[in-house]
Symmetry: D3
Subunit: 68 residues, 6 copies
Amino acid sequence: MPYVNIKITREGATSAQKAQLIQGVTKMLQDILGKNPQTTVVVIEEVETDNWGIGGESITERRKRERK
Amino acid sequence: MPYVNIKITREGATSAQKAQLIQGVTKMLQDILGKNPQTTVVVIEEVETDNWGIGGESITERRKRERK
Amino acid sequence: MPYVNIKITREGATSAQKAQLIQGVTKMLQDILGKNPQTTVVVIEEVETDNWGIGGESITERRKRERK
Amino acid sequence: MPYVNIKITREGATSAQKAQLIQGVTKMLQDILGKNPQTTVVVIEEVETDNWGIGGESITERRKRERK
Amino acid sequence: MPYVNIKITREGATSAQKAQLIQGVTKMLQDILGKNPQTTVVVIEEVETDNWGIGGESITERRKRERK
Amino acid sequence: MPYVNIKITREGATSAQKAQLIQGVTKMLQDILGKNPQTTVVVIEEVETDNWGIGGESITERRKRERK
């Protein structure tokens, strides 16, 4: 019965990729810890790049620098 | 001063239902644990069905199967 | 299939009170939103009073002031 | 390597304000706890006023009362 | 730069299992979404069985029923 | 009425440091966003180094490497 929360920036993850992630993480918890997949919950949250910071700057700013 | 985070799939919960939930959970924490309702915070997050998985599949896929 | 996270300060909530909370919140989500209780997950987290702040001060400090 | 999650109501915080918040919190964790800013993650989540409750009522309702 | 939070009940997961989980989830996010593993954060939280509810009852109660 | 959750590894943060963090973050939200400090909640969670991963390895392993 694990609960997994995955936060990523909203940069175009597709439904297929998210389905793959849900399936993969659920299976991994079964394989490594023996957790019942039927009650494993995975919630993916997509966050605007303005709202995500690392190293003291937002991803929006970081992406701009990287593009230069 | 409890903090309650309720995550549900985004499938049409109304403002009235959410107000009822906020009121009900706040009262429950007062009744069961004696918590001060004035500082009880309730945050409801609505998550796309593509982004919620249980049993290794997304709710989008599950709803499709159920409809058949 | 909701997921509910309840954070409270660690100040002696009993197993019976926590069981009541789990049962009550699960039922409330069924009554108000029609959610299936079988897949409703409730996780209670108890946080040291040193680690919880409101109004800019920790609950440890607030409890000291209240006792005076 | 701290992880900071800031939840606020969605009431018009600007990109500049959010950038300031990311920078400020990252620096504060470095100053007070000596944490490496390069791996400090800050995630800001903006929540609809219907979905945020305090004192048993939603912020939407509270704002209406305050305006009167 | 994803952030992953895994909550499980505290029922004896070993350091080796947790290390495997951290490695596996980080790799999965790289493989499926192309995320940089260097800034992927994984936080595992272990929750007492009294504090985890599913189907309206705590895991403590569920484990008792299962043992009978 | 913001809610701030700060997760750090459990590596000896003192009560005084945590009080400073609570005060600082609350003031920052008031200064930058005009948020009312009386209803700003800050919750600090300290996580075992075994349970925190970055770059695909746990902090326990990383600290060992660094010490060499």
